[in-house]
C-alpha cells in the first residue's frame, strides 16, 4: 500500500482527465486539494514521529511572504525567490529547532514553542503592514505590469498548467515521504519517539536526526505556501499562517491518517470537500458549520480512530499493525 504505484496511477488518471477537459470549478478544487495535500504530507513527516509542531503556519507564511516580497519589491523572479524563501524557512527551522532538540523540549512543550513561533511570524507580518499589507493581505504584482512572461513570473492564465504543476509537486511530496519511510532515519526517529535517552545510548544523534526531519518538513511546508501564493495570487496572515492554519494542517493529517503515505492526501480530500459541499449546498447561512463539524470530528478521531480514516481502513484490510 505504501508503494508509489497507486499515487502514480492516480496522478496519471488525473492528468488524462484534466487534458480531456474539466470545468474550471472542479479543476480549481482539485488544484487546491493537491497543493494542500503536499503541505499536509510535509507536516506528517514530522508528526508521525511524535514531533507535533504547531509552527508550520510560520514556515508556510515565511515561504509565501518572502517569495511575494522579493517579487514585488526586488523584482526578483520566483525562480530565484523560491530557493531564497526555502532557505529562509530552513534557517527559521534550525534557529528554533536546534535549541528545542538540544534542550530536550518535547511533547506539548514543543507544540507550544512552535505555536509561539507561528504567532511571531503572524504578528511580524501584521506589524510590517507598510510593506506586507498586514491583515488586509498581499497581492503579488501581476506579470503584465512590467511585461514579464508567464514563465518568469510563474503566473499562468490557465488552470490546466497549475494543475499539472500541482500534481507533479504532490507526487514529489509522496516520493520524499517514501524515501524517508524506507530510510535508516525512520528507524532512528521511531526509536527517538519511543525513548530519547535509550536512542541516544544506542548511538543515535538525537538532535541531528530530529533537526534533519524538521528542516525537511519546514521546507516542504514553505513550498506548499509558495504554491498557494502562486496559484491564489493573494496571501494574508490568516490564509498562510497563524494558529488556525497550523491546527488545520494537524487536523487534516490526523483525520486522514498520520502513519500512511496517502493519509494526508485523503485528509485534504475529505476536509476540503466537506468545506466546499457545505458552502455550496448550505451557503453563507452556515458560515462556520464546516469548522464545527471538523472540530467534533477531530475530537472523535483522536479518541476512537487515532490512526485516521485511511490508516484504520488499511489496518482492517491488510492487517498491518
Amino acid at each position: 500500500m505504501n508503494s508509489l504505484t497507486l499515487p502514480v496511477a492516480l496522478a496519471g488518471i488525473l492528468v488524462v482527465v484534466s487534458l480531456i477537459g474539466v470545468p474550471p470549478y472542479p479543476l480549481h478544487i482539485m488544484i487546491v486539494i493537491m497543493i494542500w495535500s503536499f503541505t499536509y504530507t510535509g507536516w506528517s513527516l514530522m508528526g508521525r514521529f511524535g514531533l507535533v509542531s504547531l509552527g508550520h503556519g510560520a514556515f508556510m507564511g515565511m515561504g509565501a511572504y518572502v517569495t511575494a516580497l522579493l517579487w514585488n519589491y526586488g523584482g526578483l523572479t520566483p525562480w530565484l525567490g523560491i530557493p531564497i524563501a526555502l532557505c529562509a524557512a530552513a534557517l527559521l527551522a534550525v534557529i528554533v529547532g536546534y535549541p528545542c532538540f538540544k534542550f530536550k523540549i518535547t511533547g506539548h512543550y514543543f507544540a507550544l514553542v512552535t505555536l509561539a513561533l507561528t504567532e511571531v511570524v503572524r504578528q511580524t507580518v501584521i506589524a510590517t503592514r507598510d510593506h506586507t499589507g498586514g491583515s488586509l493581505g498581499f497581492t503579488p504584482t501581476p506579470k503584465g505590469n512590467d511585461g514579464a512572461s508567464s514563465l518568469m513570473s510563474l503566473q499562468f492564465d490557465d488552470k490546466e498548467t497549475y494543475f499539472l504543476i500541482a500534481v507533479g509537486v504532490w507526487l514529489v511530496g509522496l516520493m520524499i515521504w517514501r524515501m524517508i519511510d524506507r530510510s535508516m532515519m525512520r528507524y532512528a526517529l521511531e526509536a527517538i519517539g519511543e525513548d530519547e535517552d535509550s536512542a541516544a545510548a544506542a548511538g543515535i544523534n538525537v538532535t541531528r536526526e530530529k533537526l534533519k526531519i524538521t528542516v525537511l518538513s519546514a521546507v516542504m511546508t514553505a513550498f506548499g505556501g509558495i504554491m498557494y501564493l502562486q496559484y491564489q495570487l493573494f496571501i494574508s496572515p490568516d490564509t498562510v499562517g497563524g494558529i488556525g492554519i497550523s491546527l488545520q494542517i494537524v487536523f487534516a493529517v490526523v483525520a486522514g491518517g498520520i502513519y500512511t503515505q496517502l493519509g494526508p492526501t485523503f485528509g485534504a480530500v475529505v476536509t476540503l470537500l466537506l468545506a466546499e459541499i457545505l458552502r455550496v449546498y448550505i451557503g453563507t447561512d452556515a458560515v462556520g458549520l464546516d469548522n464545527a463539524i471538523y472540530g467534533i470530528a477531530l475530537v472523535l478521531f483522536i479518541i476512537f480512530l487515532p490512526r485516521g480514516l485511511l490508516g484504520s481502513l488499511e489496518a482492517r484490510l491488510f492487517g498491518r499493525t
Binding site: 512543550y109 507550544l112 504578528q123 506589524a127 491546527l247 487536523f251 464545527a292 467534533i296 470530528a297 479518541i303
Partner: protein, 324 residues
C-alpha cells in the same frame, strides 16, 4: 548555591533589559536622557501594561490550575472565556438581567463547559500521549469558535457598560475596569492559593498533581478530583470573561487574540506554578506595553513571543519552576 546564582543573574539581566527597552528607544530617537526619563506617556503605558498584566494573570489562572493538576493543555481555554463573555452578553443585554446576576451565570456556564470538556473528552484520553489531549482540545477550539459563529453571528457585540476612567495625575488616566481586573485577579490568585493549601479538596488536588498512581492507591478518587479541578478552571475562565466584557467587544474569534499568550504565560511561569504564572503575566504585559509604546502594538507581541522562545531554551522549566 549555583541555582541561586543563576536566578540572581537572570533577575539582573531582566531588570537591565527592561530599563533598556523602556528608555533606550526614546534616548536614541531624541538624544535626550532627561526627556526619556521624564516622559509622562511612557509611565502611562507602563501602568497600563501593569493593569493589562492583571487581566492576563487572571486569564492564565484557570489554565494554569488545569495544566498543573491534570497535566493537560486546553488549547480551547480562551474559547471558553469567549463563550462565557457571550453568556454574560445574552443574559444581560438580551434577557435583561442585571449585570451582577448575569456575571455569576456566565461563570456557572463556563464551569459547566469545563466540567464537560473533561467528562466528554479528556477523560477518554487521560492515558494517551499528552499531545493527543492537546490536539483533541484543538478540535474543541474549532468547534467552540464555529458554534459561536453559527449561534451568535460574526458581528461584534458590546454590553454597553463602561466603568469609565479616573485621572491619576494630570496626564495619566486609569481605566476603572482595568484596575478592577487587576484587583480581582490578585484576589483570585490569593483565594486559589488558600483553597489549595487550607482545604481538604485543595490538598488532595495538590497531592494528585504530584503523583497520580499513588494517590489512587490512597483511596482518592482521581476522576472526581479531576472533574472538580476542570469545573474550577472553567469557572475561572468565566471570571476572566466577566472582566474582559467590560473592556473588549465580543466576537467569535476573540479567543485567538488571547489564547496563545495565555499558554505562554503558563509555561513561562512554570507549569502549575501560580506565583510564576502571575509574574510571567506581568513580564509579558510590560513587554507588550513598552513594545507597543515605542514601536507598534504588534511588535510588542513579537517581543513577548520571542522572549518566550528564548526563555524556553534558557529555563525550560519556567522562571519559578523546579528542575526535575
Amino acid at each position: 548555591m549555583k541555582k541561586i546564582d543563576t536566578r540572581v543573574w537572570l533577575l539582573i539581566i531582566a531588570a537591565t533589559a527592561f530599563m533598556a527597552l523602556a528608555y533606550l528607544p526614546t534616548i536614541i530617537r531624541e538624544g535626550d536622557v532627561v526627556f526619556a526619563l521624564t516622559d509622562v506617556f511612557l509611565y502611562e503605558s507602563m501602568i497600563n501594561g501593569l493593569l493589562l498584566g492583571g487581566v492576563l494573570a487572571l486569564l492564565s489562572l484557570g489554565l494554569n490550575l488545569i495544566f498543573g493538576v491534570i497535566d493537560v493543555v486546553w488549547i480551547c481555554y480562551a474559547e471558553i472565556v469567549m463563550l462565557g463573555m457571550y453568556g454574560i452578553y445574552y443574559f444581560h443585554n438580551v434577557f435583561g438581567l442585571p449585570l451582577l446576576v448575569a456575571m455569576p451565570i456566565g461563570i456557572l456556564i463556563t464551569a459547566a463547559i469545563g466540567y464537560g470538556v473533561h467528562k466528554l473528552v479528556i477523560q477518554h484520553l487521560i492515558d494517551s500521549a499528552p499531545i493527543n489531549q492537546l490536539l483533541a482540545t484543538g478540535g474543541l477550539l474549532f468547534f467552540f469558535q464555529s458554534a459561536a459563529t453559527l449561534a451568535f453571528g460574526i458581528e461584534f457585540h458590546n454590553i454597553g457598560v463602561s466603568l469609565g476612567s479616573f485621572p491619576l495625575t494630570q496626564d495619566i488616566f486609569i481605566s476603572w475596569s482595568r484596575l478592577a481586573a487587576f484587583c480581582i485577579s490578585a484576589l483570585a490568585v490569593g483565594c486559589l492559593y488558600l483553597f489549595l493549601t487550607k482545604t481538604f479538596a485543595g490538598t488532595a488536588i495538590r497531592a494528585i498533581s504530584q503523583d497520580r498512581e499513588i494517590m489512587t492507591l490512597m483511596g482518592v478518587k482521581q476522576g472526581a478530583l479531576y472533574l472538580k479541578t476542570s469545573a474550577i478552571g472553567g469557572g475561572l475562565a468565566g471570571l476572566a470573561g466577566c472582566l474582559l466584557v467590560l473592556q473588549y467587544d465580543i466576537h467569535p474569534f476573540i479567543g485567538l487574540s488571547f489564547g496563545p499568550i495565555t499558554f505562554m504565560i503558563c509555561v513561562l511561569g512554570g507549569l502549575g506554578n501560580m506565583l510564576g504564572g502571575f509574574v510571567a503575566a506581568f513580564i509579558f504585559s510590560e513587554l507588550i506595553a513598552l513594545g507597543g509604546y515605542h514601536f507598534d502594538l504588534e511588535w510588542g507581541y513579537v517581543f513577548a513571543f520571542v522572549f518566550f522562545i528564548a526563555m524556553m531554551f534558557i529555563r525550560p522549566e519556567g522562571i519559578f519552576g523546579k528542575r526535575s
